[in-house]
Symmetry: C2
DNA sequence: AAGATATTTTAAACGCTGTTCAACTTTCGA
DNA sequence: TCGAAAGTTGAACAGCGTTTAAAATATCTT
């Protein structure tokens, strides 16, 4: 009697249909076009039907936030694979920003939007965030242990890196810059190099 | 015939009444309570009347964003007044974060919210942001010129500082942390010290 | 195969939102 | 005092997220 399994599979497929429609609407017509009615139209359902798949609209964004992290893990992990610890740190930073600028909607859900943030605060622990942080933390620890950057609290140093790249991404994605966007991106990159070279232990450079 | 001046003054007072009501609603009952009807109720007007003072709701937030910067300038400037260049930099960072955590709604309008961001992108230049950046930039330049931090592109270095503190503030305000909020704040502060001491030129410490 | 049961979907409604606009009221200068 | 200008109102509009009884569909049991 595999019909129950098939039903579950179909439910999951419809859930995906809803999530894809929501993200497509956002990417194509902007955030304010992501309405329950538009999503329902896109998948040829009536608005009410969506509520048998998601408790409310915020849950749709929360689910998208998880989905977005899947992409992100791959990006981050493969950036941390090769090169010296110092190069790995630089790669992680660059991969992080590349992801943010190439997937602004996804980055928004993951790290900026208040609606996802509320659900995160309500849940017990932000495990996807933790998992991503661990990739960075492992690399920072490596760089510290092998003397590429000054020894200290590896968690605190990782937080510093994270805050830095997130600051760059979120200032630009939310249009908080003084020079043009391209100039700002270049200055931010230069600023990052400035910090990295200050951190690099001279005897190992 | 000063009556025209008095009328202008009254208009400005009503504008302020609206802005204060909007901010009070936000601080007291949360963002979703800031509706045109609630604002109108609070100042004993009808909703339509508000539209002779502001073109639309976003303009109210945009005006609040400017108003918030006034507070911010004082905070920032007085932090940059005393001590060695290195101490000034630390003071600016701490004042920045203090402002963000003590005025989360204002900080949101200034540096995070998409609604303010849209209006900023539409306008010609983000002059309030520039003005605040200049305070930081002047201090960074001072620290560079006097050899407290490595010489380099002072704008890029200032961007780096800004991105860093904004990253800390926005990750915490939007509930993107892994440990408890207090622990995260402490780790972030430690991370900032780590970076600052890496930047500090040893011969001058 | 037929009937009972569970699930899914619909259509309509509710209360809310931002916004507009003709009509009304108030204020003001001549 | 009159006429114009400015300010305010109240009703309406289209849209929103969400709920719910009823209808439709699919599944399980006999």
């Amino acid at each position: 009697m595999g019909s129950i399994e098939r039903r579950e599979r179909e439910r999951e497929e419809t859930r995906q249909l809803i999530l894809n429609a929501a993200l497509n609407l956002w990417m194509k017509d902007g955030f304010e076009s992501v309405t329950i009615r538009n999503i329902a139209d896109a998948i040829e359902y009536t608005p009410g039907a969506i509520y048998s798949y998601f408790k409310d609209k915020d849950e749709i964004f929360y689910a998208l936030h998880f989905q977005a992290f899947e992409h992100f893990f791959d990006t981050l992990r493969s950036a941390a694979l090769f090169g010296s610890p110092m190069e790995r740190l630089k790669n992680i930073g660059e991969a992080y920003l590349k992801f943010a600028f190439e997937n602004p909607q996804r980055y928004d859900l993951m790290f900026i939007s208040a609606t996802s943030g509320k659900k995160i605060a309500e849940s017990d622990g932000w495990h996807v965030g933790e998992k991503a942080f661990d990739v960075l933390h492992a690399t920072v620890k490596l760089a510290m242990d092998e003397g590429y950057i000054p020894k200290g609290d590896s968690k605190a140093a990782s937080m510093m890196f994270w805050a830095h790249v997130h600051g760059i991404a979120s200032l630009i994605l939310r249009d908080r810059y003084i020079y043009s966007m391209e100039t700002t991106k270049k200055l931010m990159k230069k600023g990052m190099d400035y910090m990295m070279s200050a951190l690099a232990q001279k005897e190992l450079a």
